[in-house]
């Protein structure tokens, strides 16, 4: 039989996976270090898209520069949120930190509508990315290949960042036991802020890259965050590799099911979640 | 023939990553009275209590309580079987009143008799504070409440983790008096740093170091034990 469809479907699945991953990765590192579930992570992604739009048409006119600026901006916004809204809450119950990020997502939702209007926005793909590799009657757009690679790149670089650098050493120290980290003289407050910057940056990068292919409109974040939550839950909260694997599992299986059993669409992700809760409640890589 | 061996710990091992907190602890406590566990910081005293009370799961070994294996049971089950404890850092429902704290503890195993709560409040001389939220009380009183809560679960063994930590002299005396009273009713195992207290009120002293029991005996025996002096009392 002709394997092209399956292969192509997996290819597409990997692309979906990296969209999920671009949100889930931020969620994971932020939770891993700060023990905060950042409800606004998906809205960060959307924000990245909008900012890229503004930078592209408003200032630079350059695709790549806009993406860089947008990612940085979202990172900085992340820092601001962490500094002004979350720092005061670290001493108290975790649920209030989650609530805070929830409130932030509500605000950003409407803010995008007020600032960029209600119409969807997008930016054109640069010529260099517009083309696609054609194999056996199927076009493999450079853009999608790029997105898959960027997902991988982010996974690799975050892993290196955390396992091979001084900063990473401090992060790892803070990862499980902040009190101990403090006791050995690590300035956890700076670690927290920098981690939030990283989380914001990654989301911003994802969003600004996405907007060239999927226009953004107010409220889209709401739909993405649910999937991202499910990914991190399946992964086991705070497990980077787990989150990457989970993104791929969800992305690819969603894609394949569309080919063979389209009817379970929309439900599939929840079925996978329920299943993994029953089989591995602690998550793919989580330990009890 | 074991006449009421209260608790027996066999070859208990607990690791945190590469750090070995308990390295094959064996001990057996027989009879009433106060048994004190002493040892330098990081000796594994608190870890031992946490493992016994189910707060931590051991990597190896077993724990027998009055002949019954309680290894790795959930904390609330262990409490119901008859072991209650207090914590180094006071642990209570600080937003609730003294009365409510004791009441909650007295409510387990379904049955509840009002008199029990009242009696405990009386015997701990806490009636006057019964409707104050715990966080409003001074440290010493909070410690009393904590012990009162532990007693309210009708335990057969009481574990006290540094009961006098962070108390001023008067408060210490208060708590020590209380412990002496309790000793008459119930066997007590206590982790304590204040050597005067330990050697005054203990029936038996167990010395731990680097996750192992290195000596045990009467206060006098321990006090005269060269090995202990070297590695612990540092004399």
């Amino acid at each position: 039989m002709d394997l092209t469809p399956i292969f192509y479907q997996i290819f597409i699945g990997l692309y979906r996976a990296s969209i999920y991953w671009l949100i889930a990765s931020g969620l994971t590192i932020i939770f891993g270090v700060l023990r905060v579930v950042n409800f606004s992570q998906a809205v960060f992604l959307i924000l990245g898209g909008y900012l890229a739009y503004t930078f592209y048409y408003g200032f630079t006119g350059s695709f790549w520069l806009s993406i860089l600026l947008a990612s940085l901006c979202v990172g900085i916004i992340g820092v601001a949120i962490e500094f002004f809204l979350l720092k005061p809450l670290y001493k108290i119950d975790v649920t209030y930190q989650l609530l805070m990020t929830f409130a932030v997502s509500l605000i950003i939702n409407d803010a995008t509508k007020i600032l960029w209007g209600k119409l969807p926005v997008s930016i054109p793909l640069p010529e260099t990315l517009g083309i696609g590799v054609s194999i056996l009657g199927r076009t493999y757009p450079l853009y999608i290949i790029l997105m898959i690679l960027i997902g991988l790149l982010i996974y690799v670089s975050i892993t290196i960042l955390i396992n091979r650098t001084m900063w990473g050493l401090r992060v790892r120290a803070t990862w499980r036991r902040p009190e101990i980290a403090e006791s050995i003289g690590i300035n956890t407050s700076i670690i927290y802020t920098s981690v939030f910057f990283l989380g914001g940056f990654v989301a911003g990068l994802g969003g600004s890259l996405m907007v060239a292919f999927s226009p953004v409109a107010p409220g889209l974040g709401d739909f993405l965050i649910v999937s991202a939550f499910i990914v991190t839950v399946i992964a086991g909260l705070g497990h980077l590799t787990g989150a990457y694997i989970a993104s791929i599992i969800i992305g690819v299986s969603e894609s394949l099911f569309t080919l063979y059993v389209p009817e379970v669409d929309l439900l599939l992700i929840y079925l996978i979640m329920a299943l993994s809760l029953l089989i591995r409640p602690q998550g793919i890589l989580g330990e009890r | 023939m074991e006449v009421k061996e209260v608790i027996r710990v066999e070859n208990l091992v607990k690791k945190f990553g590469s750090f070995v907190a308990l390295n094959g602890v064996n001990l057996s406590i027989v009879g009433d009275g106060i048994t004190s566990i002493i040892g330098p910081n990081g000796a594994g005293k608190t870890t031992l209590i946490n493992v016994i009370t189910g707060r931590l799961k051991p990597d190896r070994g077993r724990i027998l309580f009055m002949g019954r294996d309680i290894t790795g049971l959930q904390p609330h089950k262990i409490v119901r079987i008859g072991i209650s404890r207090t914590f180094q850092v006071i642990n209570l429902f600080s937003g609730m009143t003294v009365y409510q704290n004791v009441l909650i503890a007295s409510l387990n195993r379904g049955k509840y008799n009002k008199s029990l709560v009242e009696d405990i409040l009386k015997s701990f001389r806490l009636e006057s504070y019964r409707d104050l939220e715990v966080y409003r009380l001074p440290h010493g009183l909070q410690r009393l409440v904590e012990i009162a809560v532990a007693i309210a679960t009708k335990p057969k063994l009481l574990l006290l983790d540094e009961p006098t930590a962070g108390l001023n002299p008067n408060e210490k005396d208060l708590v020590v008096e209380l412990i002496k009273d309790l000793e008459k009713q119930i066997p007590i195992v206590m982790v304590e740093h204040d050597m005067d207290i330990v050697f005054n009120i203990s029936r038996e002293v167990i010395v731990m170091n680097k996750g192992e029991v290195i000596a045990s005996g009467t206060p006098d025996e321990i006090a005269s034990n060269k090995y202990v002096k070297e590695i612990y009392l540092g004399v």
Binding site: P5, P120, G132, T258, D265 | -
Partner: protein, 446 residues
């Protein structure tokens, strides 16, 4: 003043005739006997009697109209389109002396914030006399049943579920509900009428996974199968809506089949996203014809502009009204006014809401009172000359009957506050051929 009214009146008549001509050109000959007469007779007479017998002034000098639309969330832009139509009509009418001397006032609300609460407040607190608008079919189904209790007329101008006219009005007999926009018939059935003549046999569908998408696809299939028995439906895909930003997996799933044609009712941001991604994946190298019933609603037309793909057998798009059809004065005037006022070509829900306000005007002017039953009577069977052409309000289920064309994306664009693709090969099938009608609401085939 008077002379002005005369002139505008003459225009109206002229437009009416023009509208008729188009209607006939559209093939009225095919329509059943009874139906054919209505436009011929009533249009003209109505318009004339209206001014010949001057009516007494209304009891109140302001007529308040509540306007409902989605103003928050992903579809928030649609609330604005409705508002634009309502405002334009209000400004025109008030400038021309209002309705029998009474000025129109609008109160605009977000239907996404509990449509029932909004409607109740509009009627019971702000004492509005009419309700118009409503984007979401779900909200229409919520609002409809309480209209008798509110004792007001509501004119739906976007919500398209056939259940509004078929169930609420016809079966449950809620006379307070009218709809001036087309039901899903246009999106599913009409598409099939055009699709049947194309050299395309194998069809696939990617539709939003809710009633609108489901029903339209269903209508499309049943009709096409009947008109073109050799038609095959090789793949059905459903994308969540709102909220789909990535269509790739459905697109590639259909590329795995041997489909030659595609039917999709995706609209708004999702239509834009869909076509962009389809192009990226080389989908249109494979697919020869596409039907996208909402593909020519202005947000999509502007959104895709020059990039709107042009296919071998046609990228067939429509709306519940398209700005260039029919080529009547009424329509031209409306389009000019919109461009002048809002800087862009009118979207369909702008036209429908605009016409709804004029429908209210016509009804009041006909009966000269605000008496509900009289107004309902007046609106039933009414024939209106509107920018979208001649509208007949079907008395049995209060559904406006009028025709909408489909057209092919030509590849050309014109620039009116942005690039808008121009359509070629515009096809108008008389509404009577694709409207389901009472009593049985059977699929109208042959």
């Amino acid at each position: 003043m008077v002379s002005e009214e005369r002139r505008s009146l003459l225009k109206m008549i002229g437009a009416g005739v023009a509208g008729l001509v188009v209607g006939i050109a559209g093939g009225l000959a095919l329509a059943p006997e009874k139906v054919r007469e209505i436009p011929k007779t009533t249009t003209i007479t109505q318009t004339i009697t209206k001014t010949e017998t001057p009516v007494a002034k209304l009891p109140k000098d302001t007529i308040r109209i509540g306007v409902l639309g989605i103003r928050s969330g992903t579809w928030a832009t649609y609330g604005t389109l409705i508002e634009q139509g309502a405002r334009l009509a209000m400004e025109e009418i008030n400038a021309a002396g209002g309705i029998l001397g009474s000025k129109i006032e609008l109160s605009i609300r977000d239907e996404a914030a509990d449509v029932v609460k909004q409607a109740r407040e509009l009627v019971e607190q702000e004492k509005v006399d009419f309700l118009v608008g409503v984007d979401s079919s779900g909200n229409a189904m919520k609002l409809g049943p309480i209209m008798p209790e509110l004792n007001r007329i509501v004119i739906f101008t976007h919500a398209a579920t056939h259940r509004v006219n078929e169930e609420l009005v016809y079966k449950q007999g809620i006379k307070h509900i009218f709809r001036i926009s087309v039901p899903v018939y246009q999106d599913g059935i009409l598409a099939a009428w055009i699709a049947k003549d194309l050299p395309v046999r194998k069809w696939a569908g990617i539709n939003p996974d809710y009633e609108y998408g489901r029903v339209s696809w269903d209508f499309f299939k049943t009709t096409l199968k009947a008109l073109r028995p050799d038609a095959e439906f090789v793949s059905e895909q459903w994308n969540p809506s709102p909220g789909t930003t990535d269509f790739t997996k459905w697109i590639s799933a259909i590329m795995a089949t041997d489909a030659e044609g595609l039917f999709t009712t995706n609209w708004a941001v999702e239509a834009i996203t869909f076509h962009r991604q389809a192009m990226e994946l080389g989908f249109y190298k494979k697919i020869k014809a596409v039907f996208n019933p909402m593909g020519y609603s202005m947000d999509v037309a502007y959104g895709l502009g020059k990039d709107y793909p042009k296919l071998e057998h046609g990228m067939w798009v429509s709306g519940r009204y398209v700005w260039f059809y029919p080529p009547t004065d009424v329509n031209k005037r409306f389009v000019d006014a919109c461009v002048k006022r809002w800087g862009r070509l009118p979207a369909y829900s702008t036209e429908t809401t605009y016409s709804a306000i004029y429908m209210i005007k016509a009804a009041i002017e006909k009966v000269g009172t605000l008496d509900l039953d009289a107004l309902i009577k007046a609106m039933e069977n009414m024939v209106l000359i509107t920018p979208a052409g001649v509208r007949w309000i079907r008395p049995q289920d209060h559904q406006a009957v009028y025709e909408i064309p489909y057209g092919k994306i030509s590849g050309e664009t014109i620039n009116v506050g942005g690039d808008v693709p121009v359509l070629t090969d515009v096809r108008a099938v008389p509404a009577f051929l694709y409207y389901r009608s009472p009593p049985d609401y059977k699929m109208p085939i042959g």
